[in-house]
């Protein structure tokens, strides 16, 4: 196979100027970072943290009912939709007949999770949300598979705040909204969950 040679015309002039210009740039940036306020590209983590969006998709959390039990009804929607297959659920029978089902085990493997937020979208009960917590530290893999209790009682939550949560599905459906308004104006009824006795 024949090879072809391309001749490249390189500018071979001795270039002292670019070297000094580069060094000046470095020096200027260093001095500005040290002495000019607000010019710094870095922050002093972990004392300072970045402002992250209120829709940030960080580590998950499970919401609770008023009596402290999980809101989750173990419907497996999150586990079904999860593309990383990182959610493991075991369901059990709740004593009160009104709700029937709840998760006896709910584990998320945070190392497998891709933080896509599909679980939040899929949840019919607003039971799983995402926090803004993004510093994930552990000394073993097992430690980062977090269980139901940890998902429900996230000590750091007050500090980091909630992140991604579902949009109100009713709002996205104008037909439903119109129907609800008609109901309210014509019959004075505001639908909620039924009372099962």
């Amino acid at each position: 196979m024949a090879t072809s040679v391309i001749t490249v015309n390189r500018d071979t002039r001795p270039g002292y100027y670019p070297i000094f210009y580069g060094m000046w740039l470095t020096l200027r940036n260093m001095l500005e970072t040290l002495f000019v306020k607000g010019r710094s590209a870095t922050i002093e983590y972990p004392e300072k943290k970045r402002n992250i969006s209120t829709r940030y998709r960080g580590v998950h959390l499970l919401t609770a009912r008023e009596d402290g039990t999980p809101k989750c009804v173990a419907c497996y929607m999150c586990a079904t939709v999860c593309p990383a297959e990182c959610i493991y659920i075991e369901a059990g029978e709740r004593p009160e007949k009104k709700i029937e089902k709840y998760p006896t085990r709910f584990e998320i493997d945070l190392l497998r999770c891709v933080y896509c937020g599909f679980c939040v979208d899929a949840c019919p009960e607003e039971a799983i949300l995402m926090s803004r917590e993004n510093d994930l530290v552990g000394t073993s893999r097992a430690e980062l598979v977090i269980d139901r209790e940890n998902l429900m009682h996230r000590g750091k939550l007050a500090e980091v705040g909630t992140g991604y949560r579902p949009v109100d599905h009713d709002v996205r459906r104008p037909v439903r909204v119109a129907a609800l308004e008609r109901l309210k104006s014509e019959h004075g009824i505001v639908p909620g969950m039924p009372n099962r006795s």
Binding site: V73, A74, C75, Y76, M77, T80, A91, G92, E93, K97, I99, E100, K101, P124, E125, R173, V175, R176, A179, L183, H187, I189, P191, G192, M193, P194, N195, R196, S197
Partner: protein, 519 residues
Amino acid sequence: MPKVTIDGKEIEVAQGTSVIQAAELAGVRVPRFCYHDDLPVDGNCRMCMVEIEKFPKLQIACGTPVTDGMVVKTQVTSPKAKEAQKNTLEFLLVNHPIDCPVCDQAGECYLQDQYMDNGLHDSRTVLEEKIHKRKVVDIGPIMLDAERCVVCSRCIRYEREVTKTNLLEFVNRGGSTQISTYNGGPITHEYAGNLVDVCPVGALLSKDFRFKMRVWFLKETDSICPGCSTGCNITIDHRDGEAYRIRPRRNVEVNKSWICDPGRDLYKIIGTGRVTTAHRAGGAVVAQSDLIDEVVSKLQSAGPSSAFLATPRASNEDAYAFKKLAESVGGRLDFRVGNPQDKVAVRKDQILQREDRHPNTQGLLNLGLGVTGVDALLADCKAGKVQVLVLQDGGLLREAAVAEAAKNVAYVVAIATHQGPHLAAAHAVIPAAVWAETDGTFTNFDQRVQRFKRAFDPPGDAKPRWEIALDLLTRLGKPVNAATAADVFVEMAVETKAYADLTHRSLGPKGRAAAQASA
């Protein structure tokens, strides 16, 4: 035979076929709730409305027999029929609770399927105005939720026609109609699980399967129930190597759409107390290959003074390979403790179960086993004339006669699936797969050869019994040319008259009859 045109497709069907069945044959599934293939037609749900030419109004497809020259338009081609079905569905959903997240039927629910196919309407019912009925009612093996019921009466007809127990009935009227047992008492017969399958919605749910798994995660494998000689067709639902439930698979000639509850519970034996490694008496684990070599040398030195005891739990392939093994050593071979041959076809009840609690007694009889009678073999063991006794199923040691006989045998080999104190009598234990973990065939009481398929892998070092027997044969220097259960079946068909023109493939999903003249 009447010719009928369904959605422009002309087909010829048998006299007396209903429109809904004819449509199924033409490849159109008309939505339904109350119609069930194996139950009498009731026609109460009004879901299967179709347009029939020259009829002034829409007709129910389940209750209208076809006539020659009938022209039917289903929901596929008739907007009128589709609209009617949509309206019926909306009525059925008026009082239906929003329980899908906690309802085990979700995923195989007729309401869900048909809402996604036809409905997709926004509810016009206000939640507060829905009629509330009894929920989470414990009726024995079943959980009743009257609120989810669509009042199709399938369960009532099942109770009336199949089990003839009449335990369920409608109470109240109009919108408040709900199903109930008498005084809320339990379902007591052994066919309660079928009520769950019959129910098109989540009103009757299995207590055993309750909240175990969502059905869309489960994979289905066609199988045959190993519980008795009837050989009911079943589906094993499993996920990640674990079986979660057994459901009936329709076979009009064997079990229709039903199975018994003891059969339904058999999935539980798959995952519990299994033998996973080869070991000696007392539980000392040894490499499987070493142990099999040891068994081979013992068999070689014993020769004709060895004995082989087969099990009617084994498939035809297992039994054939075991027979080959016995023949190659020259040892005696038999099966079945006692004399139960004549019980193979004896009914235990009037529905499905039979007295013989083994799936393949007939298959072993077809192979020519069980002619001499097992008592002579066991007597020889007792008299110390047998040096090596090979048990195809470790569970045989649970039988007092076998355990007694094994005491006087120098070397007992047990090919075992399940652990237990009885295995202490065996000098060598080789782990074996259960039926769900291998391919094979059972021959039922009626000489019907039916195929079951491998659902998942056996645990640990366990192997199918036919594979263990073939391994022993290879090491004895008399290999059988077979790598799969289907190959073993071919070898068997060559030698066995009953299976002469059969192969795994030709058996199909519903099985075929063996040739009547048994070998």
